[in-house]
């Protein structure tokens, strides 16, 4: 929790001081590079936004990055509520809701379980604890594709095939490996004397976890939530494999929408659909990105 106030660094940069020409030139070069790189990274996003706000006529006549002459949100509206995806013509909104129904519980459950696992791994010694932690770490590196078939079998046995709870289960199982690692690595940086003091004070397993540990763990909670939410939200493979029909997440729906080949290709609708699907993760990064960075660094600084 030794987050350095961001302003310190900024102030050091802005401290008024006369620059000699060489330094000035260097400064211009640095900023020039940054601007070019930023433009390069932002161009695809800009192109998507511009295209989604244009009519099809304008798209055919204009260039990829030109500003829309007559901006319209028609494409957005149509994609949201009336575009035809496979046979149903209800737009993306239902699938968008599905993604929330999958991502929110999957995030909360995997973060909660990861926090508990991390707490146990960092404070308790038991037979085979290192082996077990190693196996959980190993889980982080198992490619999605490998587990598709056994997972399908398992979901079938549990009667969860094709359902939203089934997808939540899949994501929790996969996410717990990561969140366990995050929390365990954060908790080992908490001084051991704090746990001892709590034991002497008469706090038990749960009191130590909820009263002492969790309140100082918000940076790693934020990291885990962002990591899990964006991971689950952006997932395509599990969604397309394990969810059927109206239970599909928005990523799968966007794919189906874009790949529906009737009539001309509606680029503006494709772009709007992609934007809608990406919006929640963009919002989370913009709103909580600084906590993400801070949380990732908190462990490093303390260790």
């Amino acid at each position: 929790m030794t987050a350095v106030p961001d302003s310190n660094f900024a102030m050091a940069l802005m401290r008024p001081r006369s620059l000699n020409p060489t330094k000035m030139l260097g400064r211009i070069f640095v900023y020039g590079c940054l601007v070019v790189l930023a433009a390069l990274f932002l161009a695809p996003l800009a192109s998507m936004v511009m295209t989604s706000l244009k009519s099809m006529d304008e798209i055919r006549s204009g260039t990829l990055l030109s500003v829309p002459q007559a901006p319209t949100i028609e494409a957005w509206a149509s994609v949201w509520s009336s575009a035809c995806i496979s046979i149903a013509c209800g737009g993306l909104k239902g699938y968008f809701g599905n993604s929330f129904l999958i991502a929110v519980p999957a995030t909360l459950i995997s973060v909660g379980l990861g926090a508990l696992n991390g707490y146990v791994f960092s404070t308790r010694r038991f037979q085979g604890d290192n082996i077990l932690f190693g196996l959980i770490l190993f889980g982080c590196f198992i490619p999605f594709q490998i587990v598709l078939i056994p997972m399908a079998g398992l979901l079938g046995m549990l009667g969860l095939a094709g359902t939203i709870p089934g997808l939540v289960l899949v994501h929790v199982v996969y996410g717990v490996c990561f969140t366990t690692m995050f929390f365990r690595n954060y908790f080992v940086t908490v001084p051991a004397e704090i746990f001892k003091a709590a034991r002497v004070d008469g706090a038990g397993f749960w009191a130590i976890f909820f009263r002492i540990l969790l309140p100082i763990s918000w940076p790693i909670v934020m990291v885990s939530i962002i990591w899990q939410f964006t991971g689950v939200w952006n997932d395509f493979l599990f969604g397309v494999s394990f969810a059927a029909g109206s239970n599909q997440p928005v990523t799968v729906a966007v794919n189906n929408l874009v790949n529906t080949s009737t009539g001309t290709k509606a680029y503006n609708e494709d772009m709007a659909a992609a934007m809608i699907a990406a919006l929640p993760t963009i919002v989370i990064y913009v709103a909580a990105g600084r906590y993400f960075l801070r949380g990732l660094m908190a462990g490093a600084v303390k260790g």
Binding site: M1, P191, E193, I194, K196, A197, A198, R199, V200, D201, G202, A203, A207, R211, I212, P215, I216
Partner: protein, 363 residues
Amino acid sequence: MANLGISHVTKSFGSLAVLKDIKISIEDGEFLVLVGPSGCGKSTLLSIIAGLEEHTSGTITIDGRPVDGLEPKERDIAMVFQSYALYPAMTVEQNIGFSLEMSKMPKAERVERVGKVADLLQISHLLKRRPGQLSGGQRQRVAMGRALVREPKIFLFDEPLSNLDAKLRVEMRTEIKRLHQRLGATIVYVTHDQIEAMTMATRIAVMKDGVLQQFGTPENIYDRPANVFVATFMGSPPMNLLPATVVDGASGPRLSLKGTDVTLPLPSSVTARLAPGSDVLLGLRPEWLSLAMEGASANPTLTLHVDVIEPTGPDVFVALRAGEREIMARLPTGTPICPGEKRAFALDLSKAVVFDAATGVAH
């Protein structure tokens, strides 16, 4: 408040024994200091008393009741840690009151107890702050408040002053001693600082390599160290050890200092019969040497070369040389003495200690 008994306690990690057959017992209201170099097992012993670690064999009793295998909270002890170990997310008030909350004490009573302790430690104005907003000394007080509020049978302190600067350390030392006198509490205190041990304790246990070297009052430890380790670990500068041989004299055995032609009478403290020819170490505290005045003292004298003079304010430490041997003397400031001189020093042999040269054990 209670007595504490540690009998035949051992602790090993696998084949590594970190505590070997420790026997210590103190009465109600005593201030026991466990002192020794790092790695001597003193902190492990404290953890075992607290119930944070289990011992391999032996018995711990608190207030006459065996507590082996009990959880810390069942032992009625409180502990102050070296890093203070305050709960970062709680206010000072919550930190101090946490143990009471865990024991399900009603809120009103809790607030009253916390308030009383805060008054005692003069931290009432800090109750709403969090540990991160406190200075080192204030954190130290909060950590003590957390222990005091429980009114336990025994207080355990694990090097509580080692993170403070020198001035604050001396202040808090006095404060802890004052608290001890005021509350009459039983305290076990771990430190590697022999001055803390001497100034605070009513009983000192000196440890080394998991073995209890000596257990006694501070005076006892200082004047009558049981072996060479205790003699040199306790006291700064440490006790001088002069190699000597026992020789026969007209009126009983005498000590012939090696490398000199001086022989000294055997100190009165030596009770054992020393065989002539045996090698010994003569232990002399620096303050037992003084500048010899012409015919003023009946004490035996030794002529020594003055090497270095280190004024400390009230005293002057003088490094003296007898052939190859260095001898430290502690003289009052203002003693007329210059480096390079050869002077006669009187030795106060009434307190001197004689150790066996081979085993290091006091005779």
